[in-house]
């Protein structure tokens, strides 16, 4: 087999060699010459034709611009896409310098998660966020936001959001959309916004106590903008019940939410939105851990939220002057057991409710300057006898906080803020907090959510 192959290739090689030897004869060279000559003629003719055409086009163009005194634009058919990069990439850098007068900042009467504690004292960078997002195709949109945070002395990556959202191309009824994955779910005003877009350097007491800053569980949610004559939207979802205020999920727990909201304009320069939300779920297996795992809640909790936002641009132009009023009210009912291992309470039955609210106003008095005031307050539940003296004992004191801030926005992409908080979370303890913050955004142009 091998021998015959070798013989065949040897024959081919000799044939080729023979040909090249023959090609050297004068006859062949003449043939090649004439061929090249022919090709040259053909190309020269083509070039001449093209030149003639070009002159014609130039003449035409001159004629049209002469016939019209003014500049007439030419139609452009170039399609311009929103994203010059796919996916669009955005970076958020933010940092604070904080000074606190009080050594501690627990909120007695509530089990507070790690994110619900006040920020770090001294100079510290906040969550540095990276966002990648793009329309996957005509049917889906994908977005991923991760935050790099410092926890227990090392920098770790936290996945804030990673979701897929249906696009209108999917063919669902107009106004209906689905979202799956991990996201800052629709629950009141602040929860679905990233903290760097907030009007204050920290979140109000309601979000610290009830949501550990924000609820971003894994799940599936839907929303539907109703075809009414004014804005109205309903929605809801099911979640893993892994994130605060629920237990660490083993996949058997579930949580669900539902909401409805309406909104509209008042005249040309005012708008508003009002919403009602419910988030309900179990903390059954490991329970809701708080106060550095010392406090554990096992059972069911229902969280009801209402929010109202009102925006007024006195001159019509929000760039210039703007007044924003915003409030959220939280009411939580819990049925289960609490245990505070720090104070060795043992397991104590708990079936009660608590509530809280914040009210804030922000006034943009010049294109780059804004000032704001915020008041937040919590109304803890009555303490059962078994929990007296524990972290869950509010001693009949309502935690409250006042905040005043002023910020300067150089462009849509940079903001510097000063804030002073006056917090009374415990009877006889006042925490005076001074904060300086910068928020920088690099990359994709963010959208202005309502």
């Amino acid at each position: 087999m091998l021998k015959t192959k070798l013989a065949a290739s040897a024959a081919i090689v000799s044939l080729l060699l023979g040909n090249s030897v023959l090609a050297e004869s004068d006859k062949d060279i003449d043939i090649l010459r004439t061929e090249i000559q022919n090709m040259k003629q053909v190309y020269e003719k083509r070039i001449a034709d093209m030149e003639a055409k070009l002159v014609g086009v130039q003449k035409k163009r001159n004629q049209t611009s002469v016939s019209n005194g003014k500049k007439v634009p030419i139609t452009s058919t170039r399609r311009i896409f929103n994203n010059s990069f796919n996916p669009s990439i955005g970076l958020i850098l933010n940092g604070t310098y904080s000074n606190f007068s009080s050594g501690s900042s627990e909120i007695p009467g509530f089990g507070i998660g790690e994110e619900g504690e006040r920020g770090k004292e001294g100079a510290a960078i906040g969550e540095s966020e990276m966002n990648f997002s793009a329309s996957v195709d005509d049917k889906f949109y994908g977005s991923l936001t991760s935050a790099i945070v410092r926890e227990d002395g090392s920098d770790i990556i936290e996945l804030e959001e990673a979701y897929l959202q249906s696009l209108p191309g999917l063919g669902l009824p107009t106004g209906l959309s689905l979202k799956a994955g991990r996201a800052l779910w629709t629950l009141g005003y602040l929860n679905e916004h990233h903290a760097h877009t907030d009007d204050f350097a920290d979140r109000p007491l309601t979000h610290r106590a009830y949501l550990n800053k924000a609820y971003n569980d894994d799940g599936l949610a839907t929303s539907y903008v109703l075809p009414t004559n004014f804005y109205s939207e309903i929605g809801g979802g099911v979640y893993r019940a892994d994130d605060f205020p629920f237990g660490t999920g083993d996949g058997e727990n579930t949580a669900w939410s539902a909401y409805a909201r309406i909104g509209g304009d008042i005249g040309n320069n005012q708008s508003w939105r009002l919403g009602g939300y419910l988030l309900s779920g179990d903390s059954k297996s490991t329970g809701r851990k708080s106060n550095e795992d010392a406090v554990i809640f096992l059972g069911e909790s229902d969280l009801y939220v209402t929010d109202l936002r009102y925006v007024w641009a006195p001159t019509g132009n929000a760039r210039d002057k703007e007044v924003i009023f915003q409030t959220e009210y939280f009411w939580r009912s819990e049925d289960g057991t609490y245990q505070d291992t720090e104070n060795s309470t043992g397991i104590v039955d708990f079936d009660d409710s608590s509530d809280g609210l914040y009210v804030q106003g922000v006034y943009k008095f010049a294109p780059r300057w804004r000032a704001g005031l915020r008041y937040s307050r919590l109304f803890p539940a009555d303490v059962p006898t078994g929990l007296v003296g524990s972290n869950l004992d509010s001693a009949n004191f309502d935690p409250r906080a006042y905040a005043v801030m002023m910020d300067w926005t150089n462009s849509e992409f940079s903001r510097v803020r000063l804030q002073y908080n006056h917090e009374k979370l415990k009877d006889g303890q006042t925490d005076k907090q001074f904060m300086m913050q910068y928020v920088i955004s690099i990359g994709a142009h963010g959208a202005h959510k309502y």
Binding site: P73, T75, P168, P227, E233, G263, S271, R319, S411, F413
Partner: protein, 300 residues
Amino acid sequence: MRLFKIILIGLFCVTSNVAHSMVNIFACEPEWEALAKEIGGGKVKTFSATHAMQNPHYIRARPSLINKAVKADIIFCSGAGLEVGWLPLLLQKASGSVQPGTEGYLMASDFVKVLEKTMVADRTMGDVHPEGNPHVHLNPHNIFLVAKELTKRLELIDATNKSFYRSRFNSFTLRWRESINQWEKNSSDLKGMQVVVHHKTFSYLIDWLELIEVASLEIKPGIPATASHLEGLLQQFKTKSPDAIIRTPFDPGNSSIWLSEKINSPAIVLPYTINGDASSVDLFALFENSINLLKGAMND
């Protein structure tokens, strides 16, 4: 639960009756709403997301806009990044037939020659978009090109009224061409007029009338004027003052007025869009008034 269902069904009944005898046009800016009315007449229902006192780059996706966008058959905007801060949020909720690439998605800047396209857009240059200057409507020739495209789209979306749109377009074209001729004749003495602008909102008008933009009050697009920048302008105009300082109704007036008093050039507010002043009620009046205001300032 039952009550909830009844309410839902009720809502559908109320709304489905109103919808769909007319083409719903969601315009991002008043100029496009005006053009939609010119071509669509009584067969379209128009809405403008912004009004003349608003800077269309800086509005929010407020609830009422979401409601209107969901019902839109055509979304008609300037494009080129002008609405980048809010339109994408609305499009996510809107119907499949107004998404980019479809007949219901009409961005004016896709159909005209866009000025000031930059190859490199660095944020140190201010809020510059590489797509170019989006304020395309202030050249009347662009209005014509966009009208032509809008007519095409209306004919596709509402085929039963095809001849209606065509005849309105023809009538508009006739009147518009005539007006353009008139304006171009009337404004020949404006050629070479030196203007200071507040922001690059008038580039197309300047280009069309062949004015000369000598300075901008904003340091860079989107970055407001500072005292030192204004001081610099004062030095620049020491020897020769510009003919006018122009701004839109939504630009803050203080720096214009300050400079005007110092260098003795008139500071004027051009209507910029429909209802930008009391008499600019349609596209014809908008250009008419803009030219007259410039001429007034020139002869001042």
